[in-house]
């Protein structure tokens, strides 16, 4: 395979994965009308694939994607219909494309013959019959000709389709700040999707103050203008009124009944006969929720296994070395081994290489380096390190922010670097590695570093610490993760958008991870993100209150300490304890959960929460750490707050897992009530 083909294959595979997910969305709509956005997006992926393969000279991929694009174009513009047969058809030929790309990856040249057979099939295919054309419904919108002239052919078709269905067509004007207009607009678009369709988004600067941008939105909806205004919070101008109120029941639902004329099983991707096509069918897309259920079932099996082991222990006490007891022992042992294997495999299925994320970050680096006028060499290590798919997706945005931060504030301009004797191009390293049950991601730059003294001054200014407190550099740098904390005087284009480091921290905490900064002025900065490999298995501290044992995930707590109950100060607003010169609220876990503690003077406390919402929770004993699989509580426990779930620990013992966030809220509610009373 040519080196350049590598890029093509990577991007083509990504496109096909994207196309597959749109197709699944369309299939899920069943006989209801599929989301026009999904069809348009599917069209766009084929369009891009066609363009790309054309440039790389892979004629047969170009031909197939082009032919599919043509059919999709007809469907999206209402000239053909997306019926079940079409969905089937697209699944099949998406597989064809995937297998062609797979053979390209494996170094086989593509012959035209590969594509010839399916090309005939594609060119013969006509989508479902389209609705018949009627008089031009756009006549109703004559006075908006200016606006209509800007619509693309697709938008115009969607507008017509909404008019034909008797939907109301409404115009809205919004003005947002240039800093966050994209997020604001996306939120509004998502809201509108619940009760209508966004038909056009037209940006405008006419009469808009500097630093802001306006948008004229055209939407179609079965709601009244008043309802649309209430649901979206934006004033509405009626371009065309609704014909009649929206019907609640969809007539299409009747056709889905089994045995009915439209009642059929959801179409499945067709298995291809060709050998080269089979290779592409070795991967399966699975919803992560299904894997969660699988993991829960493994947990249940573990409980049954433990009961069986207990039964064996009791039997051996009664019957001694009876051959039947020995048989039972062998079965228990075997079951344990297999179960462990099963659990490992289930967890493994959820894992993806972190390189997937690094690739996306690499694109961002290339794009932003140029915009920021910097020169940067990006190197990546440990891209094969595996992480839970859910976590991988959640971590992208925090990483993106830190990388932009490094480009923007860390690495100096080429001129400044030369002046201080560094190479013109800065170095940015992304490094992932596994440490025990954690994945550590390091973002290292060789830029100008962070001046701890500046951070200290700023923290004192903002009242986050007193000028007399003796905090270490690490602790001082930690203030950079506080909301609204910035030592930067000007806001650049890159960093001026979106999240700050406080959001990075909050996200990491919610994922059970933590963040650290190491820096040296003039040398560079290392951002260190540590997070669990999976949220499915959690390392926890086992604690006791009275006769009860609970598990507290290590990721939810900051510190533990010994405490003598006498040292607790009782103030009007509640109890506090002196912790390194700081007064921190303290509460007894027993009191919060209404269970009696052992009454001993000597106890332990764990620090939970962050920022100004921190709390020490007193427990009687800490009995060690353990890895647990958290399982949801059954309906029986509904309404019981303070618990994240239950976990099986050791033989046949189930403990409740504490939910730090919920306990914090509960304790602070109590404190507030106390202050008011």
């Amino acid at each position: 395979m040519k080196a350049s083909d590598n890029d093509f294959v990577d991007e083509a595979e990504e496109l096909l994965t994207e196309a597959g997910s749109y197709l699944l969305d369309i299939q899920e709509a069943g006989s209801a009308e599929p989301d026009p956005d999904s069809i348009n997006s599917l069209f766009r992926t084929m369009h891009t694939l066609k363009g790309m393969s054309g440039m790389y000279g892979h004629q047969c991929i170009t031909d197939i994607s082009h032919a599919l694009e043509n059919i999709l174009d007809d469907i999206r513009l209402g000239r053909a219909d997306m019926d079940d047969q079409s969905v089937d058809f697209f699944f099949k030929h998406m597989d064809t494309l995937r297998s062609l790309i797979t053979s390209l990856r494996e170094g086989h040249a593509l012959s035209d013959e590969d594509a010839q057979a399916c090309m005939t099939e594609i060119t013969d295919f006509k989508g479902g019959a389209a609705e018949t054309q009627e008089a031009d419904p756009l006549e109703a919108l004559e006075e908006y000709e200016d606006l209509l002239s800007i619509l693309s052919e697709y938008e115009e078709h969607r507008l017509k389709s909404n008019l034909k269905k008797g939907k109301g067509i409404y115009k809205m004007n919004v003005v947002y700040s240039l800093d966050d207009f994209d997020t604001r607009l996306k939120e509004l678009t998502a809201d509108i999707k619940d009760f209508g369709e966004m038909l056009s988004t037209m940006p405008t600067s006419e009469g808009i103050p500097a630093g802001s941008i306006g948008f004229t939105l055209v939407i179609g909806s079965g709601k009244t203008p008043q309802e649309v205004k209430e649901l979206s919070g934006v004033d509405v101008e009626v371009m065309s009124s609704m014909a009649e109120p929206e019907e609640e029941a969809r007539p299409a639902d009747a056709a889905r009944a089994p045995g009915g004329p439209g009642g059929q099983q959801a179409p499945q991707p067709t298995m291809a006969e060709d050998a080269s096509l089979k290779t592409s069918a070795t991967t399966v897309r699975v919803n992560i929720e299904k894997l969660d259920r699988l993991l829960n079932a493994v947990g249940e099996l573990n409980l049954i296994k433990n009961n069986t082991r207990k039964l064996w222990t009791e039997m051996s006490e009664v019957f001694g070395k009876n051959p039947l007891v020995i048989d039972l022992y062998k079965i228990v042992q075997n079951m344990e081994r297999r179960l462990h294997e099963l659990q490992t495999n289930v967890l493994e299925v959820r894992m993806v290489p972190i390189g997937q994320i690094f690739t996306r970050l690499g694109q961002v680096v290339r794009r932003y380096t140029r915009g920021a006028g910097k020169e940067i060499n990006l190197t990546v290590f440990g891209e094969d390190t595996e992480i839970d798919k859910f976590l991988a997706e959640e971590i992208v945005d925090p990483l993106m922010h830190i990388v932009r931060n490094s480009i923007d504030h860390g690495i100096e301009s080429p001129e400044d670097r030369e002046a201080s004797g560094k190479p013109r191009a800065g170095s940015l390293q992304l490094r992932a590695s596994q440490r025990g049950n954690s994945v550590v991601i390091e973002i290292t730059d060789d830029g100008k570093g962070i001046d701890v003294d500046v951070v200290r001054r700023k923290a004192i200014e903002r009242g986050l610490m007193s000028s007399s407190s003796a905090l270490g550099d690490m602790e001082i740098l930690d203030f950079m993760f506080e909301a609204g904390f910035s030592t930067k005087k000007t806001v650049s284009e890159t960093s001026g958008r979106g999240v700050g480091l406080d959001v990075v921290r909050a996200k990491m905490v919610s994922l059970g991870g933590y963040t650290e900064i190491t820096t040296e002025v003039g040398m560079g900065t290392i951002f260190n993100l540590t997070l669990p490999i999976t949220l499915a298995i959690v390392k926890s501290l086992m604690v006791r209150v009275g006769k009860e044992t609970f598990a507290m995930p290590l990721s939810s707590m900051q510190e533990t300490m010994d405490i003598i109950r006498m040292d607790i100060k009782h103030l009007d607003g509640g109890d506090v304890v002196d912790f390194r010169g700081e007064m921190i609220p303290i509460a007894s876990l027993g009191e919060v959960l209404h269970i009696p503690d052992d009454g001993e003077e000597f106890a332990y406390a764990m620090l939970i929460g962050h920022g100004d919402k921190r709390l020490f929770l007193i427990v009687d004993k800490m009995t060690g750490q353990q890895e647990i699989v958290i399982k949801p509580l059954s309906d029986y426990f509904e309404g019981l707050s303070g618990f994240a779930g239950a976990a099986e620990v050791g033989s046949n013992e189930v403990v409740l897992v504490l939910d730090a966030e919920a306990l914090l809220s509960e304790a602070f509610e109590k404190k507030k009530a106390l202050q008011k009373g």
């Binding site: 991007e11 440039m55 284009e493």
Partner: protein, 121 residues
């Protein structure tokens, strides 16, 4: 004095092909936007000498972007090239009506892009 081109295109591959074609012209610098939103944000930040845009993009499409540029006194004089497919014949017509200066059809050759740029700058 070099010239600065804004490339608005959602496919990263097409984008980099346009970029490398453009940058082969001496003194030509490019900045890329992966969607219309990025373009809207970049426009006021730099003095662009040319905009090259795709039509069919998510969020806001090329026509909406062209309309925005043409109606804003800060940008209305910037020459504008559409690069889109033969599928969007109707859209191209509309694009030229509302103020694009040229259009190229995908797939394109590097020389076509270069000729179009040279003709407008």
């Amino acid at each position: 004095m070099g010239s600065l081109v804004l490339i608005v295109e959602d496919s990263s591959m097409t984008r980099s092909m346009i970029r490398s074609a453009a940058e082969e012209i001496e003194g030509m610098e490019t900045i890329e936007a992966a969607n219309g939103f990025e373009a809207l944000r970049l426009l006021p930040s730099q003095q662009f000498d040319l905009i090259i845009t795709d039509i069919n993009m998510p969020d806001i499409n090329g026509l909406e972007l062209i309309n925005f540029v043409r109606k804003d006194p800060r940008f209305h004089a910037i020459p504008l090239i559409i690069i889109s497919t033969e599928k969007s014949e109707e859209d191209k017509k509309r694009g030229l009506q509302i103020g694009a200066d040229a259009y190229l059809t995908k797939p394109f050759k590097a020389e076509e892009v270069q000729d179009a740029i040279k003709a407008l700058i």
